[in-house]
């Protein structure tokens, strides 16, 4: 059976794999870049390129070694380095003498090249799309609940256990109806977790570069690390939201970017590229919504995200919301990140205590 390597987009990989499977192709995927793949990518790529490229490249090299013939990657139309990923990765793979062939995900003519290549016919082409959409919706719901439950759970690790079990079930669903059934049980399954409702956890927003928000290998499983310290997180990259935005652009010619620009107004008046505008706008909005802090994740030297850092610093001062800047490269070690997150949590806790003492809500 034909195999295709699909990119890592965290838990969403499950949905993408389902879509590919429905086309009758065997997906080769994982929910996080493996350290081995990252090492392969780091060795093969030029040193100064950004880390997500190394992760992508490593994943495909590992796939080729496993005998996978095709790979799928997102065609970016942005302004930053992401746009050249596919060209560069194809070049490097060719130099290494690897046979794996890359398909761009994105509309290239009426049908995506992948669909054209395998030509499954219109019905078989639409069905997986709806199925994947349902799964993405389910994953978004699960994650939202997990972020809220983890900091107040009584039995350590219970939330992660429920979450993983649900993901596992979802990845085994073969039909839309099955996936929908799993989605509908989500809320009740999370409700079985014993929690301490009296706890008022700190609330932290995660913003920054997409693969760092989503790939648990790259971000050192930051959602868990924060949740485990009694912090409720909200990850501001949601694939469901992103797809809904694309649909809005196509169908209604309405872009969410406009909305974000209105929020960022005085601080940033351009979309920059990547998700830099999102980082600024969400930080401002979170400050207004009473979040305790933000964590901004980016690969070292990321062009758009580093470009807006002075702006984030200003937002942090003006809106009085602490923002922790985390930069990652292939040498970043877990303990360094943990130390920073723990110290950040201490700062936020102390800040909340002081505010409570002087009566600021």
């Amino acid at each position: 059976m034909t195999q295709i390597a699909i990119p890592n987009i965290g838990n969403y990989t499950v949905a993408l794999a389902t879509a590919v499977e429905s086309l009758g192709i065997k997906p080769w995927a994982s929910t996080a870049t493996t350290p081995e793949a990252l090492k392969l990518g780091t060795e093969a790529a030029p040193e100064s390129v950004c880390l997500p490229l190394k992760a992508h490249l490593g994943h495909f090299i590992a796939a080729d070694r496993a005998g996978v013939e095709y790979a799928l990657m997102v065609n970016s139309v942005g302004t930053c380095r992401l746009r050249y990923y596919r060209h560069m990765i194809e070049q490097i793979l060719k130099d290494l003498g690897l046979k794996i062939r890359i398909f761009g995900l994105g509309f290239d003519g009426f049908k995506p090249p992948l669909v054209r290549h395998f030509d499954p016919g219109p019905i078989t082409f639409l069905k997986p799309l709806f199925h994947a959409g349902e799964q993405i919706r389910a994953i978004d719901e699960m994650e939202t609940l997990a972020w809220k439950t983890r900091p107040i759970e009584l039995a350590h690790g219970e939330t992660t256990r429920v979450m993983n079990k649900l993901l596992l079930e979802l990845s085994r669903c073969r039909t839309l109806a099955e996936s929908r059934a799993v989605r509908r049980t989500t809320a009740s399954r999370f409700a079985t977790i014993a929690v301490d409702r009296s706890k008022k956890p700190l609330k932290v927003g995660l913003v920054g570069e997409v693969s760092f928000l989503r790939d648990k290998c790259l971000n050192k499983n930051i959602e868990y690390l924060l949740g485990d310290q009694g912090i409720e997180v909200k990850n501001f990259f949601s694939l469901g939201e992103e797809l809904r935005n694309i649909a809005r652009i196509v169908l209604l010619n309405k872009n969410r970017g406009r909305e974000l620009l209105d929020i960022a107004d005085r601080y940033l008046q351009t979309t920059v590229g990547g998700h830099a505008l999102d980082s600024v706008a969400h930080s401002i909005r979170c400050a207004e919504l009473g979040y305790d802090g933000m964590v901004h994740l980016a690969p070292c030297g990321c062009m758009p995200e580093v470009g807006v850092r002075p702006i984030l610093k200003r937002v942090s001062q003006d809106k009085d919301i602490p923002i922790l800047e985390l930069s990652f490269d292939e040498h970043t070690c877990d303990v360094g990140i943990t130390t920073r997150l723990e110290a950040f949590a201490d700062v936020l806790r102390e800040r909340r205590r002081k505010r409570a003492a002087v009566g600021v809500s």
Binding site: S30, A155, G157, S171, E342, A343, E350
Partner: protein, 338 residues
């Protein structure tokens, strides 16, 4: 007779420090030990030395800190495991309640902590680069074939420090060699190195932070007079090097242990210093992260595990935590054949 005390242990990248304090906060014993890459041995050696120097202490609580805090915590049976940024700040605030900026430069990590009204409000830590850390000076001293103490004393003799460019050890080294070959005097080069470290520290670690006096400077490198001089010259204000400046992390940890209100300490007592502790590594294959888990054992008993990213292997010796189901590994699954 036995005096109650609290222990703080800081396991850093190049040194292991231990401080014992009385419940009131006064230091009973402080130990600074340059490690040789064997953190378990260093911790145990420190505990043994504590026995010798201050016998008859009854340990009421232990807190570990530093980059090896998890491992050390398992070995001694810590009640609290705290990150070193908070530990350092705790100690500084105890000694200098009016502090507003804390510089901390250690072997491989350097940090700046911004304090306002007795609370930490912001901090920053060096990135991967070793430019603003003690290892920068160590490697340059090695290259010049002098000890770090000689470097410190030599730098103070300098009348006219030279400028050594250098973000990284490598760049600085080539520039330093160049300066030597051009004929600069040794003290001027040494002071130039101190300025280079301070410049890199201020530019990389302190970038964007509001540095307000009083500034307290601590950590292993604060013993170096040349660096203190370079800080005074570049900032144009005085900096305070506190008492116990070498062991502030451990001191802060001890203070944290004394204030946590531990009822029954989990300190392993004599066992911690004498029993042979071994570690065993294995890779957890339950999710694509493939974490390397280190299991810490005293004989057959598992006293702790480190290295997991999902909480499945957490636990500080306090018995196994609930098991976490594996994340679905799509690599293994594939599609069931029809």
């Amino acid at each position: 007779m036995s005096d109650p005390c609290f222990l703080g242990i800081d396991v850093g990248s190049i040194s292991t420090n231990l401080v014992a304090i009385a419940p009131g906060g006064e230091v009973l014993c402080e130990l600074y030990r340059r490690g040789d890459g064997h953190p378990i041995d260093s911790v145990q050696a420190c505990l043994a030395q504590l026995q010798e120097e201050a016998p008859g202490l009854a340990v009421r609580g232990v807190c570990t800190t530093g980059s090896g805090r998890m491992l050390a915590g398992a070995v001694v049976g810590a009640d609290v495991v705290k990150n070193e940024i908070s530990a350092h700040a705790r100690a500084t605030l105890h000694l200098h309640p009016d502090v507003r900026t804390i510089f901390e430069i250690g072997g491989q990590d350097s940090k700046v902590t911004v304090v306002r009204d007795g609370a930490v409000v912001d901090f920053s830590m060096n990135l991967v680069c070793a430019a603003g850390t003690g290892s920068f000076l160590d490697s340059q001293a090695r290259r010049l074939n002098i000890t770090i103490e000689e470097l410190s004393a030599g730098a103070m003799l300098s009348q006219n420090p030279t400028t050594i460019a250098g973000r990284c050890t490598v760049f600085a080294e080539s520039d330093m060699i160049h300066k030597q070959q051009v004929g600069h005097a040794q003290p001027d080069i040494l002071m130039g190195l101190c300025h280079a470290l301070v410049r890199n520290y201020l530019a990389n670690v302190c970038a964007g932070k509001e540095l307000k006096s009083p500034i307290v400077f601590q950590g292993g490198v604060s013993a170096n007079q040349g660096i203190c001089r370079a800080f005074r010259e570049s900032l144009g204000c005085d900096i305070i090097v506190p008492r116990h400046h070498m062991v502030m992390g451990a001191y802060g940890a001890a203070l944290i242990a004394s204030r946590t209100g531990v009822k029954n300490t989990r300190y392993r007592g004599e066992k911690a210093a004498t029993h042979k502790v071994v570690t065993k590594g294995f890779t957890c294959a339950d999710c694509p992260n493939h974490c390397e888990i280190i299991e810490i054992r005293d004989g057959e008993e598992v006293i702790g595990r480190t290295g997991g990213r999902c909480g499945k292997w957490d636990g500080n010796g306090g018995g196994p935590r609930p098991q976490v189901d594996p994340v679905p590994d799509l690599l293994e699954m594939g599609v069931p054949e029809p």
